[in-house]
């Protein structure tokens, strides 16, 4: 199972790199947001892998378990608690971003980042 542990860390790193790649090179804004959300998922996967105990048990104590055996074999539950919060925050951030995209699409009629989120400081200064 040790191979699995290391491979999971590599997978998490791969997801983060996919996210950073899509942040720079993808033009469509919805796909860019999807890509960036992979960074969050990679980080979550990494933190869950921290708490993993090879050949261990789920960190829920059942009646009839010996506490000493449980403490030696259970996975570390603190990272799991962190990831729970992180997942929900990620989803809400994504929802807000998509809502802003929907509003902006009505104004621009395109999903291209180069058009939608270009430099606006010049236009607004001398228009009024």
């Amino acid at each position: 199972m040790a191979y699995v542990h290391i491979t999971i860390l590599f997978t998490a790193a791969l997801l983060i790199i996919i996210g950073l790649y899509s942040a720079i090179f993808i033009d469509n804004i919805i796909k860019k947001i999807i890509g960036i959300s992979f960074i969050e998922e990679g980080v979550n996967l990494f933190i869950v892998a921290l708490g993993y105990a090879p050949d261990g048990v789920v960190p829920i104590i059942m009646p009839g378990m010996d506490p000493a055996w449980f403490a030696a074999n259970a996975a570390y539950p603190l990272p799991f608690g962190l990831v729970l919060t992180s997942i929900v925050i990620g989803a809400s951030t994504l929802a807000v971003m998509l809502a802003l995209v929907m509003v902006l699409y009505r104004r621009y009629g395109t999903l291209s980042t180069k058009v939608m989120l270009a430099d606006t400081s010049k236009q607004e200064e001398y228009n009024e």
């Binding site: 947001i33 980080v43 933190i47 939608m116 606006t120």
Partner: protein, 484 residues
């Protein structure tokens, strides 16, 4: 156990939720928001110093290794937290007051966002738990985006979306750094991590520890708007309503110092930490001020100046001596007040003329003498003219860098102050002193009374801190002696 400490976070959070839920009743909402806003600065002043363990789980002594560890989320409340939370409370009160008097129909969600941001920064300052801080950091980012998007200024949605996309890179990277620390120490409590690092339980030369510094540092750059995030930070200031911008910059300053203090407690054993902080602070000072000199939109200009001033705070922390850190924290306190004054003052001008381009303004001294005099004093305080509060903290910083053996940094700090002064004099001349352009209409429009009142209160604080800096410096230096 001090029961008032968690109330500092819970009161604004619950008040925001209630206001958002019952915003139909306009009058009741207004009164309720006003009462809560008055309570915000009073709670920290009435509270005693101490620690609060959530759930009542006291620290446990491990008998095998003789190490104390903290199972609960801990809030620690000292003089530093008191003064900063009190200041944020006063600022929130003024901003809410301006907002309530400006509009007949108040929007519940907007007030919710203001209170949510205040609760988030308060929790970030109080907490001793690095993941707890991260959660409130994310909540703060959402609140900031909401405040920007709620403004009626052109292109505010675009700026909010840009800020969110950059944030969704910055925050997970910071979480990754926290994960690295968790992997090394098995804890998220800052006191425990700092104990493990300073007592040799963690190999401080290992690449994992160094990389965790780099990743959390990147998140800090995003939180505080140092380069490469200075453009977006100044952008969101200029796209928010003026009173919102005054609160936004205080959120930035507080999140900056709360994260950097946590980083300082953990990473002060690594010399590279100080090098990194000083490098990015100098970069922020140079870029912020030189870009502020070329702006024509005065809101954007104040935004860049605010970013440049953040460099001074970073400089104080990066030099690493107790005196320098005290100077940096004092500078942070001054910056919150001064920049809020400038944002509210320039917002009053926008309110009166509907114009943000300095090239189209002029001759406003005759129309709004009160606002212009207060703005002048605020600008002088930011540039560091005695006897105002900016002078005291900048003098302390220059002395600190001289006594550390870095005269170049002192010269640079003085040069940045002079350039700030130039920016301010230039803007003041173009907006207030030179003859009024013919197509500018100012008659009949008045500055809201609440804005003048808020500026007056902030100005009193600036002058008081400038003449009697010792009331703050003593307490801050005691706090700094505690964390070193």
């Amino acid at each position: 156990m001090n029961e008032l400490i968690p109330l500092m976070v819970i009161v604004p959070l619950m008040a925001g939720l209630l206001i958002s839920a019952f915003s139909k009743f306009n009058k009741a909402t207004k009164i309720f928001a006003f009462v809560v806003a008055i309570c915000l600065p009073i709670i920290p002043l009435a509270s005693n110093y101490g620690l609060h363990y959530f759930g009542g789980y006291e620290p446990i002594m491990d008998n095998v290794t003789n190490v104390m560890f903290h199972p609960a989320i801990t809030y620690s409340f000292t003089f530093l937290q008191q003064i900063f939370i009190g200041m944020i409370g006063i600022l929130t009160f003024l901003v809410v007051f301006i907002y309530l008097t400006k509009y007949k129909e108040v929007s519940g969600p907007y007030l919710f966002l203001l209170f949510l941001g205040t609760a988030a920064v308060t929790a970030m300052l109080l907490t001793d738990d690095i993941f707890h801080m991260f959660v409130f950091f994310e909540i703060l980012a959402l609140a900031q985006v909401g405040i920007v998007a709620a403004s009626s200024i052109d292109y505010s949605y675009e700026m909010a979306l840009k800020y969110m996309i950059l944030g969704s890179i910055g925050s997970p990277i910071m979480l990754l750094g926290i994960g690295f620390l968790l992997a090394l120490t098995g804890s998220v409590n800052v006191t425990d991590i700092a104990y493990a690092v300073h007592n040799g339980l963690v190999n401080i030369t290992s690449p994992v520890f160094l990389l965790s510094l780099g990743l959390i540092f990147f998140g800090w750059l995003y939180a505080s708007g140092l380069p490469p995030f200075h453009t977006i930070k100044s952008g969101i200031y200029s796209k928010a309503e003026p009173h919102g911008a005054a609160l936004l910059q205080s959120f930035t300053v507080i999140s900056m110092i709360s994260i950097v203090l946590i980083m300082f407690r953990i990473y002060s054993v690594l010399p590279i930490f100080e090098v990194l902080v000083v490098f990015f602070s100098i970069l922020a000072m140079i870029l912020g001020v030189s870009l502020a000199l070329t702006q024509t939109d005065f809101r954007r200009m104040i935004g860049f100046l605010a970013v440049g001033e953040l460099g001074f705070i970073g400089l104080g922390i990066g030099l690493g001596t107790p005196y320098a850190i005290t100077a940096g924290l004092f500078q942070a306190l001054n910056e919150i007040i001064i920049t809020a004054l400038l944002f509210i003052g320039f917002g009053a001008i926008v309110n009166a003329t509907n114009e943000v381009d300095t090239r189209k303004l002029g001759g406003l001294l005759a129309y709004h003498p009160k606002v212009s005099i207060m703005l002048l004093i605020g600008g002088l305080a930011m540039a560091g003219v005695p006897p105002l509060s900016g002078f005291q903290s900048k003098l302390m910083l220059v002395q600190a860098s001289l006594s550390c053996g870095y005269p170049e940094i002192s010269i640079l700090a003085i040069m940045v102050s002079i350039a700030t002064f130039v920016v301010f004099v230039k803007t003041f001349y173009t907006m207030f002193l030179r003859p009024k352009p013919n197509d500018l209409e100012v008659e009949g429009k008045d500055v809201p009374r609440a804005m003048v009142f808020a500026m007056g209160i902030l100005l009193i604080i600036i002058v008081l801190l400038g003449i009697f800096p010792d009331i703050v410096i003593k307490g801050i230096s005691t706090f700094v002696g505690g964390i070193l």
